[in-house]
Symmetry: C2
Subunit: 163 residues, 2 copies
Amino acid sequence: MSQVLTDQGTVALTAWVRLLRAHAAMARTFNAQLQAEHGMTINDFEALLLLSRAPDQQLKRVELSERIQLTPSGVTRLLDGLLEAGWVAKGECASDARVSYAVLTDAGRDKLAQASRTHTAAVAQLFTERFDDTELEALALLLGRLPGAAEADAGNCEVGAAD
Amino acid sequence: MSQVLTDQGTVALTAWVRLLRAHAAMARTFNAQLQAEHGMTINDFEALLLLSRAPDQQLKRVELSERIQLTPSGVTRLLDGLLEAGWVAKGECASDARVSYAVLTDAGRDKLAQASRTHTAAVAQLFTERFDDTELEALALLLGRLPGAAEADAGNCEVGAAD
DNA sequence: GCTAGTATTTTGCGTGCGCAACTAACGTAG
DNA sequence: CTACGTTAGTTGCGCACGCAAAATACTAGC
């Protein structure tokens, strides 16, 4: 019963497995590179990038958690490292003593710029040598529909807060 | 200079970030599900799946390492768990005492079948409710060109060995 | 046979992160 | 203003895994 669905399921499984493997391979490579060249992990980089694009170079931990797809505890550990490195500072919220902001420091902006030079180039190279413009946009579009991916670049649809 | 390339780089970065986030979100979900329902991780499942598709339900650790995109040490730890659970047995190679095979046991096949029922359904559902046939195939095809993804389903292009 | 070089696997150590439980602070209801 | 539920963040614990170094076994040259 239902051969068509079975086949679609197989393709889905294939896509998932390939995403898993591609992630494992690329994450390992990029992590090693970032660690060797800049002493940071992929998520360190991503956090700095996210902060640099945020309104006042700052984000609530909860927001960071959603954007970077980490649990709250993961964010705590991540920021521990960034705070210690001096790339991020702890900001408090006047109206709500529970929330604390992660604020990008000058050192952090500097470090990000520095790391960006090699890292984004490496990423760009890896993708552009495998895909042309059309394919790349198609890939980005398709990936954007997966869970977690949409929240990633939702850097400009939030308002309010800070009351 | 090179605005076009810059833009292409941006798209590449976006694709990469989305892949990262999608992986984080989906891996977290599926891991929790597999753990709760079957007491295994995604990689446990993937290893069993790979073994079940291998010629004699067995694979050299090195091969498994390449297919599943884990370092050799990762494979050792992974198989430690599978051996202890009784889903995989240790096979020796007559011609080369260095290599040891991971052999899928009956219990392992059983467990895989059991886990497959819920897990592949969950994966299939997640993908098919977001993509139609054409998109799904396009996604799988594009992902297949990324590093590590090609090796994933190279289950039938190897010969020889076992001499 | 003995030594050098390479391939396979394991182990010590460190790290990143999820889960569950906890604390602290806010909001609302009485 | 006390009580309860909710939200933000932290911490103890455990696990998965990478790296580097080791042990073992194969291979080649002498």
